[in-house]
């Protein structure tokens, strides 16, 4: 079973050389730390930056330079800054190759719910609806089950949707799964020490298991 770092590490392997990537808040942010050497990736922050660098050294924080999670960050040689309209312009026109974000629920047809729990304070969707509506490739990083022990991989989302038929892949503490265009979570890899049965039990939606399922490699 993976911890958050493990999920981030596994997702980092999905990132292709020469791609522009938007990382959501939470586990996705950690992915930046595990991008393999030799892979050129440019991180897009939807508040208006391409080429997000690491956190600044203490004392070098610039309040004018933050990411979409409102964290102080740095730029890199080759970075560029732009306004919010252009930022979402490049997202909508699919110049951003990959979006990695968290979710509360994903359905077997790729719908995602990650912004609203009825009855609870709703903070808002931020840029998530724009990102999931446009990105060519969307990977969800999340726990396989929620705190109540219920599966988050469902036949149909129960929570209000963020986007429809958009999630391509899911990485959880238990498994890597592909969302099939025709519906269903196709099991690609098991986390170390996790049995097929555990994954089956934790997956409420249609799970597709074909042949031998390899263990995750890092």
């Amino acid at each position: 079973m993976l911890d958050k770092t493990g999920i981030a590490k596994r997702i980092a392997k999905e990132i292709k050389d020469g791609s522009y990537v938007n990382l959501g808040i939470g586990i996705p942010t950690l992915v930046a730390n595990y991008i393999p050497e030799g892979i050129n990736v440019v991180l897009q922050s939807e508040n208006g930056l391409l080429g997000m660098g690491p956190f600044p050294y203490e004392g070098e924080e610039d309040p004018d330079l933050i990411n979409a999670g409102k964290q102080t960050i740095t730029t890199l040689p080759g970075s560029s800054v732009f306004d919010s309209a252009m930022s979402f312009g490049m997202i909508r026109s699919q110049k951003v190759d990959l979006t990695i974000l968290g979710a509360m629920e994903v359905s077997e047809n790729g719908d995602i719910a990650n912004w609203k729990i009825p009855g609870k304070m709703v903070k808002g969707m931020g840029g998530a609806m724009d990102l999931v509506a446009s990105a060519k490739n969307i990977i969800v990083a999340m726990q396989h089950v929620n705190k109540a022990g219920e599966s988050k991989l469902l036949p149909k989302c129960l929570l209000p949707l963020t986007g429809v038929k958009c999630v391509k892949k899911i990485v959880t503490e238990l498994a890597v799964l592909e969302v099939k265009p025709e519906g269903g979570f196709k099991l690609l890899e098991r986390a170390p020490g996790v049995s097929l049965d555990e994954i089956r039990k934790a997956t409420a939606g249609k799970l597709i298991v074909e042949g031998e399922i390899p263990k995750m490699e890092f």
Partner: protein, 232 residues
């Protein structure tokens, strides 16, 4: 050139009245018009509709206007980090319209660019699409979203000149340029008001034609919401 300079925030906002719709630049607490917000808080106006990506924190930014019960409605993409906001929302004192961040930015752009509506895929198939026209282009569904109207747009820039030209610094740019283009009246506060001719025409982010009033702000606090650092 046309001189847009006013002396201070109080004069810049002097004709903002109760019930009006304001756009306020900034992302989180980054690039917000601190001086104008403080002046609005001191002014006896209420029932405002505020279009702003966020709603500040309890004791800074738009949060101060919330504490002061000046806001009737917030139109934002994300409103966390604010206990008073939550209280007013649940008590029904405050109305909130949450919209996708890109939709917010592009509805401002549409206004500044004289386009009455835009099409975006953001929110298709979600509750955001309720009551909106859905239209298919090349096999993909889009929502038609209308341009935003605002009586005043209030933005913060790094440098500006008397002609109203603005240059922003780093990611404090965010929503400021698109809102600057969208106000019926646009007020810009700048950290530094420079001599006419000092700004390179090629580097101006917001041409002065969009700006009606400009002043040099003071005492910028520039509060950081999430101070994250790396170890040396």
């Amino acid at each position: 050139m046309i001189n847009k300079v006013v002396a201070n925030a109080e004069l810049a906002i002097k004709d903002i009245e109760s019930g009006m719709t304001l756009m306020l630049g900034g992302f989180g607490l980054c690039g917000i018009p601190e001086n104008c917000i403080n002046a609005l808080v001191k002014k006896d106006i209420k029932q405002l509709t505020c279009i702003s990506n966020n709603a500040g924190v309890d004791d800074f930014g738009i949060g101060l206007m919330l504490q002061n019960r000046q806001i009737k409605k917030m139109i934002s993409s994300y409103v966390g980090e604010n206990a008073e906001f939550e209280r007013q929302l649940f008590s029904g004192e405050l109305e909130v319209e949450l919209i996708p961040q890109g939709t917010l930015a592009t509805r401002c752009l549409a206004s500044g660019y004289g386009m009455p509506a835009i099409f975006t895929p953001a929110g298709v198939g979600t509750e955001v699409s309720e009551g909106k026209e859905v239209r298919n282009f090349n096999g993909k569904d889009y929502l038609m979203e209308l341009a935003f109207e605002a009586d005043f747009a209030i933005v913060k820039a790094w440098k500006g000149d008397s002609a109203g030209n603005l240059i922003y610094h780093s990611t404090a740019r965010n929503f400021n340029p698109v809102m600057a283009m969208a106000g019926k009246v646009t007020i810009a506060e700048v950290e530094e008001l420079v001599e006419l001719g000092e700004l390179d025409p090629d580097q101006i982010h917001t041409p002065g034609i969009f700006v009606h009033r400009i002043f040099q702000g003071k005492n910028y606090e520039k509060r950081i919401e999430q101070r994250t650092v790396r170890l040396i």
